[in-house]
Amino acid sequence: MKKGWISYPYIIWMLIFIVVPLLLVLYYSVTASTASGTAFTLENFEKFMQPIYVKVLVRSIALALISTFICLVLGYPVAMILAGRNLKKKSLLVLLFIIPMWMNFLLRTYAWMTILERNGLINTFLGTLGLPQLNILYTDSAVALGMVYNFLPFMVLPIFSVMSKIDMSLIEAAEDLGSNSITVFRKVTFPLSLPGVVSGITMVFMPAVTTFVISNLLGGSQYTLIGNLIEDQFMRVYDWNFGSAVSIIMMLLILASMGIMNRYDKDDAGGGLF
């Protein structure tokens, strides 16, 4: 069976539509158009070192980390309950957890504007109780909330799938040997669930750090994360060189964090059991 050639159309396609475009981004990031044509330069990267852009980067990473942490704290118990031993209608409950994702995510994010805005549902509710108003919309909290809301399933599902594969006899063995439920969790269940936690963290952090939609809708028009910065450069400012440089920095950031998470993943998979 020598049929390698039938994949050539695909390879050519991918070279044209994936590799070449990325090379073009790289090309734009290290050039600048001057009066006499284009010239090689690193000024686009230098520009990013300015305090206002560094602040954008730091804020994006901080917000993504906070959202990831909240997702982990909220999501881990959900995964644990769903993977529980004697849960009735398990598959239906898991399905119910996924179903909201079938509604357009822009619309769901938009719905949060309805809930959070000045005359929105939360404030109407607080008002009828005579409580002070909350102004969450167009702040960091609203963006973090949007991220947690949109990416929570990405934390729950990997942890759930790892947890439902845990060998029950290990837990029973620990119980037979006299561990109470806290020790069982600390010494058996939690270490075994770590691979799921690691992929959950990666799956929430990556989209959170690259988003521009959530910050645009819930953070207001002045709100800038690194994703917004890129979008701005390409759709409004038309500075492709700087936009490309920011994209390259973002890709490096993603690659670096994926490298770190992969290392942990391997460490835990090896050491978790013993």
Binding site: P9, V19, P100, L107, T124, T210, F212, W240, S247, I254
Partner: protein, 271 residues
Amino acid sequence: MKNTIKKLYLFIMYAFLYAPVIILIIFSFNGSKSRAHWDGFTFKWYGELFRDKQILTSLYYTIAVALLASIIATIMGTAAAVGIHNMGRLKKSMVMNLTYLPVLNPDIVTGISLMILFIFLNLKLGFLTLLLAHISFNIPYVILSVLPKLKQLNRNLHEAALDLGATPFFAFRRVILPEIMPGIITGFLLAFTLSLDDFIVSFFTTGSGVSTLSITIYSMARRGINPKINALSTIMFIAVLVLLLLINRRTSGTAASGSNARETAKLSNLL
């Protein structure tokens, strides 16, 4: 006691997940265009939906692009998977790295890089560029769904067919194809739903006059979304819900794994 706490916690989390969805559905029956005030129950948005040119056009483009892109990606991806499966070790790992590239790249980078390419090639941004972009990010998912099926395949079957006098093409069609069909169908469905759902790549690769539902919604979001969009989403949401619950009842478990497959792809898409 412990069970009550568990149930309560699950209930709160589900309420958190469903609150925006329920609000969207409720406001599709709202008498006025306001997104905050309730002005009586009405069905009028459902009627007006089918007379709104902008929404119907975006619905048409959404479905046309998703359908075309997923069909083309399925054909090319399946062929590619068969080819990759038969490659030598070194070549295979090179091509697989190429395949993982768009899966691991952030969507926004895929979007802007394709936009640069299309403008560089002097292609007018519009339906064609949108389609090319969707095919490009769909193919890897088809390959990643078909390859595992090829690995499970017993190589002797194909040789047996050839020994019995089948032409290579006949052997492929009657022996290999039926075996890898589940993978091809999974790949197609994945590609279709990913296309249907995509906003970021489409946002950067389409031009004026051609917008998908996601893009229309995004452009409306600042000014306030028309309740007709709520009505359309309600219809689509309920259709999916009924379908999933029916499948879940008939084959308990497979539905969950089916949507998990989609999730996994979406997840890895976001990675």
